[in-house]
């Protein structure tokens, strides 16, 4: 079974049941995605959730998403327990609190983060790691907005 998220290459890649292809190549350990509405941010989370929250036998899923943790209001207390996961936070404006921000800022690479967020909430991240989702070559891709060497 294929992994949705490959830790080594830092790429989130899968095709959903409707044939939408996702190919997000992350630059670093933390990424904030913002930009226009209706670019597929929540859709991506909904699709991934279906690979995680499943009572069926694992072999009935097209992808393995065991190394992904999607944060919600109900499980955010488990954030500090995660290790080796791609942690995805959709609608972070409504979910993040000070304690979570502290955990994320102090995490130096035990986990990786994909955060959908427009409001500045204290996540320490340089502009090099801000991006938007866009459709390119038939895939939903991550487009970074700038690169300054010293901001790495």
């Amino acid at each position: 079974m294929r992994q949705c998220y490959d830790w080594q290459s830092n790429v989130l890649k899968f095709t959903d049941v409707n044939g939408n292809k996702y190919n997000l190549k992350f630059r670093g350990n933390k990424t904030i995605v913002h930009g226009d509405s209706a670019t597929g941010k929540s859709l991506l989370c909904t699709m991934l959730k279906s690979y995680i929250n499943d009572n069926n036998n694992a072999s009935f899923k097209p992808y393995n998403a065991d190394n992904i943790f999607i944060v919600s209001k109900d499980n955010k207390d488990k954030l500090s327990l995660q290790k080796g996961k791609l942690i995805i936070i959709d609608r972070a404006e409504l979910i993040l609190d000070d304690q979570m921000v502290e955990i994320i800022n102090a995490d130096r690479g035990d986990n990786r983060y994909l955060i959908f967020l427009r409001k500045p909430m204290g996540i320490e991240l340089s502009p090099n790691y801000f991006g938007t989702l866009c459709k390119k070559d038939g895939e939903l891709q991550l487009e970074y907005e700038c690169y300054v060497r010293g901001w790495a």
């Binding site: 409707n18 226009d36 509405s37 209706a38």
Partner: protein, 152 residues
């Protein structure tokens, strides 16, 4: 004129809709969607209403229901709902548009302008908001500007 607020602190809890996704899912039915709402869905989410009875829509990402519209789109539809049904939540004076991208914000501002809707818009991000069109904006009940590029 669009009344913008950079924080929700200007309103009491029962005066502001904070979670637009939740409000939409709980209050707005497919059957109640007006022409205005259908146009907004097309503009923001490129969603075409296929069956108004059950809320089936066609989006660039496949066929789904109105519950999968973007939060930005839902924010505008909530505004339309409030204006078309003022008796339902008479205490509401503002809506939190922080989860709206600039494309949704522009549609929201256009609707407010067109209908002279009297509602406060709470916006706690500045993600390319200066791309929104020139019009009369009142910021935090004090500063009048026409171009959001000059919002302090």
């Amino acid at each position: 004129m669009v009344r913008l607020y950079t924080s929700g602190k200007y309103f009491k809890d029962n005066e502001i809709i904070i979670d637009n996704d939740s409000f939409f899912n709980n209050n707005v039915s497919a059957k109640s969607l007006s022409e205005n709402s259908i146009k907004v869905m097309e503009e923001v989410d490129h969603a075409k209403l296929l069956d108004q009875n059950i809320g089936k829509i066609e989006t660039p990402y496949g066929i789904t229901g109105i519950q999968d519209l973007s939060t930005g789109c839902k924010t505008i539809l909530n505004c339309i709902f409030l204006q078309e049904n003022p008796e339902v939540y008479p205490t509401v004076r503002a809506i939190n548009a922080t989860e709206c991208g600039k494309n949704a914000l522009e549609q929201l501002f256009c609707y407010i302008d067109k209908t002279n809707m009297d509602i406060g818009i709470v916006l706690e991000h500045e993600d390319e908001i200066y791309e929104c069109g020139n019009r009369e904006y009142l910021i935090n009940d004090s500063e009048k500007i026409t171009d959001l590029l000059f919002m302090v």
